[in-house]
Every structure is written in C-alpha cells, then in structure tokens.
C-alpha cells in the first residue's frame, strides 16, 4: 500500500476508535449538564438545550465529601504500602538467584488469575475473623492482596533494566547495598515506580466489589460504592449520577495527564557506553 492511501485509512480507523472510546465519556458529561427533565427526551439530544450545573451542586452533598475522603485514605494507604513493599520484593527478585525463584514468580502471576469473585469469600472470612470488617485497614489489606503481585511484576521488569555495573561501582565507592539501592537503583527506576503507582491508583480508585462487601456503614463507603445511592428502588437519578461520575474521574485523568511524560523511560541514557 502506498503512503497516500495508507495515511487517510489509518486516520479514519483512528477516528472510529477514538469515537467508540470517547462516546460514553461524552455522554456522561452531557447528561451531567442536563436538567432533570432532559435525559430521557426523545429524540435523544447530544448536547443539552439548557446546560446547568445544578446536578453538580446536588451531587456535592456531605455524603459525597465523606466518600471522597474515604477513597483518598484507602487508595493513598494502599499505594504507600504497596510501592515500598513491592520495590524491595522486586529488587530481591531481580538481583538474587535462588532455587525457587521461578516457582515464586509463577505463584505471583497465578495469584492474579483468580477472579475477584473467587477471592472475595475467603478474603471476607479472613477480614471478618481479624475483626477488620467495616474498617479502613480491612479494605486496605484486601486491596494490597490485589495490587502487590502486579506491582512486584511491573517493578521487577524496570529493575532488571538498571545495569548491575552501577551497583558495583557504588559498592566500590563505599556504599552499602542498601545505600546503593536508595542512591542509585531507586532514582533510576523512577519511571517504573511512577507507572506502577498510577496503575495501583487506577485499580483501587475504581474498585467496587471489595468496597461493597467489606464495608457496611455509610460512613465507610468509598466513591464507587457511594454512587449506588443514586440508583434507588423507584428510579435512577441520572443527572447526579453522571455529575458525580465526572467528579470521580477527574483526579485519575489529571494524574495520568501530568505524569504521562514520566512514562518515557529515557533516564538510563548515558549510564553505560552507547
């Protein structure tokens, strides 16, 4: 195929894909701006005649603020525990050879093959017998069981790329292994740490099943569970539902937007010959 045909063709494909991906988001945003009477108007309107922020004002009720705080606490704590643990585990798995290394790595992958639905009952029993139901800690521990294996795998890949010579150079320069880890390895693995952190945040921020099962009181709910409030026995308040959806999505989109540059892992350039 010549360039003249290929380029417009690719452009069309990209437009179709982008539309398919973005349409639900657009619809979410559009409905969030519609007054209560409009979402079911026929024919459906892409953009409201009378856009209003009233749904947002209604959605920002005290419960939402509480849910938001809960989400921040649970996700933040999960992140702050997962990353250091995963970093140390991934480092030892990338540097030390031992007999059961491949068995261990395989087990870490296998742990992810279980669907959340299959894990939830045993996890529930564990959390209950530890008296941690309806607490932040219970939810955080449940999340870590999901995030830690993935984080270990992701970080191990990045750490394997940090040249071993640099740690040897640091050892000759007098640094202890731990010092070399913090001075040399961690800074060089920064793009990987950021990528893994974003991944952990996205997974936990939108998690629904665990949050629903391990919390019982309203005060402990996280944002995804809290959205359930709008889906009542007698009707669904779409305007407010979509307005809070937009507000929930914003932090994740913002984080992703500001950090995407960091994913470009060009940091090891110039370390060794080349």
């Amino acid at each position: 195929m010549t360039k003249r045909i290929r380029y417009p063709l690719l452009l069309c494909l990209q437009l179709v894909t982008a539309t398919l991906v973005l349409l639900p988001f657009f619809w979410m945003f559009s409905v969030s701006l519609k007054p209560a009477t409009e979402p079911f108007a026929i024919p459906a309107q892409l953009w409201p005649d009378n856009p209003t922020l009233e749904n947002y004002i209604l959605a920002l009720r005290p419960e939402f603020q509480r849910y938001f705080l809960n989400s921040v606490i649970v996700c933040g704590a999960t992140l702050l525990i997962t990353i250091p643990l995963a970093l140390l585990a991934a480092y030892s798995l990338s540097r030390f050879q031992f007999r059961l290394l491949s068995v261990f790595l395989g087990a870490v992958v296998l742990a992810q093959f279980f669907p959340a639905g299959a894990m939830i009952i045993p996890l529930y029993k564990i959390v209950r017998s530890a008296n941690l139901l309806n607490t932040y800690l219970g939810l955080i521990i449940a999340y870590i069981t999901v995030t830690l294996p993935v984080a270990i795998w992701m970080l191990r890949g990045f750490l394997l790329k940090v040249p071993k010579t640099l740690e040897e150079a640091a050892a000759v320069d007098g640094a202890s292994p731990l010092r070399a880890f913090f001075d040399i390895v961690v800074p060089l693995a920064r793009p990987g740490i950021i990528a893994t952190s974003v991944f952990v945040l996205i997974v936990t921020w939108q998690e629904f099943l665990f949050a629903l099962s391990f919390t019982s009181s309203k005060e402990m709910r996280t944002l995804p569970v809290g959205m359930n409030d709008y889906i009542g026995q007698y009707g669904i308040r779409y305007g407010e539902l979509m307005a809070s959806s937009v507000m929930i999505s914003l932090p994740v989109i913002a984080i992703f937007f500001f950090l995407q540059r960091q994913f470009v892992a060009g940091l090891t350039a110039g370390a060794v010959k080349g």
């Binding site: 040249p163 010579t165 640099l166 040897e168 150079a169 640091a170 050892a171 000759v172 320069d173 007098g174 640094a175 202890s176 010092r179 001075d183 040399i184 800074p187 060089l188 940091l267 090891t268 350039a269 110039g270 370390a271 060794v272 010959k273």
Partner: protein, 351 residues
C-alpha cells in the same frame, strides 16, 4: 599506596574453573597488566581483588592485610569499569564526588577535591552536565576522576579504553600512564590488547584458561616468551611457529635445514621466530624459497607472507623492498633470535 598479594586464589562456578590457583605479588606503586584473550579469567581475578566476586579458595592481601571478608568499599580501592559505570541521574560533579559523599567528607572539602580531580583529567568545564551529554572519551575521564578523587591505595581498571576509538585510545593510554606515575598508586589493569600491555605496564601477567602463563617486564616477555601461547599472543604480527625436528645441531624441516649449534635439544619441536627477525632475500640466497602470498605495506615496513606447509609465514621487510604476489623469493631466519618450544607442552626448551 600498597602492595597487593594474591595467594593461590581460585574461582569456581560449579565445575567450571574460571581462575585456577593464581599467586602474584604486586609491588607498591607498580603498574601491573593482566593480559589474556577473552574468557581467560583476568576480569574475574580483578573482581576478586575488588571484592565484587568472592574467591572459592585462596587469599587476597592488600597492604599486607587479608581482605577476603571486607566489602569492596572497605578495601580502599577505586575501579574504572569497561562501560564507565557512571550514575546517569547525577551530574558530573555528583558522580565524581559520590565516593566522598558516602565517606561523609564535608561539603566544602568535597567540592574542592572534585574540582581538583576534574582539572587533573581536563573536565573542569563540564561539571554541571549529565553523563548522557558527554562523549565516550569524556565519560571515561569522569570515571577516572571518580577513581582518583579519594586517593585510594589501589586502582583497578577493567579494559577502560576498549570502548574508545583508536585515536582516542592512544592519547588516553599516554594520559593514564602519566597519571599513574604522577600519583604513584599501585594499579592493576586488565586488557586483551597486547599493545596496551606492552606500552603501559611495569610488568605484564599473561593469563590463559584461568592460569598464569608468564609474569615479567614487557620486553622480557617479548624477548623470552615462556611458551608457545605467550609467543603467539604478544607481538603484532604474531610470532611464526613452525613444526620442526632438531638433531645434531641442525633444525630440519621438509623445506629447509638450518644450523643451530647452541641449541641443546633433539627431537620434535616448534621453532618460533618473530617476523621482524626474518628477512626477504633473492631467490636461492635464503634458507628456503617461496612464492609471495601477499605483500602488505604497513607504512614503516612491508609485511611479506608465504606458505610453508599449511602455515602462513610472515616476514617484516624493509619498506624499500619491491616484491609482487606470486613472485619467487628467498626467506632467511635470523640466527640469533630463534625460539624453541616443546611440541607436547608448548613450554620453552633448548637452553
């Protein structure tokens, strides 16, 4: 400054013996080159001195003290790695100053010493840059500055010039040698390049298959190689090695027979002679006649090769000589520079 002693150190990985019971005394301030083909165990030997690899058995002594159980940082040595080993996220100044920072040298003194080290290797203007903004030669000098900044007892250099282009290598070679003399620091230098070994070393230790072949001053090794391997490895083009039989003071070969009265041996042997000790003469006037296989102009001389049995024999002739491929000429051995080696063991014999 400190002498280094290796006391029959051995390194095994499973059944593979990388370094086989090497003993070596390196004097205070000496420049010792470990020379050998790749995979001969020279880098492993150096890494055991550095503490990056642990000897399976044997002792490493630095300054008369056994250091086997000390981590690399406690051995008071600096190392220059083949691929430089610079920290890419630090500036040049931070790279050079890192050993001092780890040693908790106060900031003001650190900055002064970093500046001094950088000036020594002509890097003064580049201190704020990152390694990625530097050329290969500059990176090499940063690695060197990081090595000299804390005035260690011992320098270890692992093929430090092998990533540089040929011209830069020659000038860095001279700089390195000069720097080492000036500082007077004991240095162990690993290379597979025999020219580097010959030009820089006080003494050369030639290794092969994990064993020490010969230790001595460059000229001594060049003039009196201990075995056929060393004879062939040092010198470029390498020494001609010809299978011969010796009896009654004559060296016999199907194509020639020469007198060698002083040689005290008889039976099968390997005759060795360096290309510069042979000469090209008119057909019929030499020890044997042969067709010119190639004649290569080297600049200061012409390298003439000819077939002798299955081997190509090389002769370094004066550049004024004019021979062409296929031409029949005579070749003559220089009588005073004949070497003999055992066919079985390769050891030097006949003296």
């Amino acid at each position: 400054m400190a002498p280094v002693t290796l006391n029959s150190i051995t390194k095994r990985w499973g059944t593979f013996v990388a370094v086989d019971s090497i003993s070596l005394d390196i004097a205070d301030g000496e420049f010792l080159v470990l020379l050998g083909p790749s995979g001969c165990g020279k880098s492993t030997t150096m890494r055991m001195v550095a503490g990056l690899d642990e000897p399976t058995s044997g002792e490493v002594l630095i300054g008369g003290k056994v250091v086997n159980d000390l981590p690399p940082g406690a051995r008071d040595l600096a190392m220059v790695f083949q691929n430089y080993g610079l920290y890419p996220h630090m500036t040049i100044a931070q790279n050079i100053g890192y050993p001092l920072k780890v040693a908790r040298v106060p900031k003001a003194e650190r900055e002064r010493r970093v500046r001094e080290a950088a000036e020594r290797v002509e890097l003064a203007g580049l201190l704020d840059r990152k390694p990625s903004a530097l050329s290969g030669g500059q990176r090499q000098r940063v690695a060197l500055a990081r090595a000299i900044v804390r005035t260690p007892q011992l320098f270890l250099m692992d093929e430090p010039l092998s990533n540089l282009d040929a011209k830069l290598r020659v000038s860095m070679r001279a700089q390195l040698k000069h720097l080492q003399r000036e500082l007077g620091t004991t240095t162990i230098y690993v290379t597979h390049d025999q020219v580097e070994a010959m030009t820089m070393a006080d003494r050369v230790a030639v290794m092969r298959d994990g064993r020490l072949q010969q230790v001595g001053a460059p000229l001594e090794i060049y003039n009196r190689p201990a075995n056929a391997f060393v004879a062939g490895f040092l010198g470029n083009p390498s020494m001609n090695l010809i299978e011969v039989d010796v009896s009654d003071g004559r060296v016999r070969h199907p194509r020639f027979s020469i007198e060698a009265r002083d040689v005290r041996l008889s039976g099968p042997a390997i005759l060795g002679q360096r290309p510069e000790d042979m000469s090209v003469v008119n057909s019929g006037e030499g020890d044997f006649d042969g067709e010119v296989y190639t004649a290569e102009l080297l600049g200061d001389s012409v390298l003439v090769t000819t077939r002798l049995g299955d081997e190509l024999i090389a002769v370094k002739a004066d550049k004024s000589i004019s021979v062409s491929m296929g031409e029949k000429v005579g070749f003559r051995f220089g009588r005073s520079a004949l070497h003999f080696f055992s066919r079985e063991t390769g050891e030097r014999i006949g003296e």
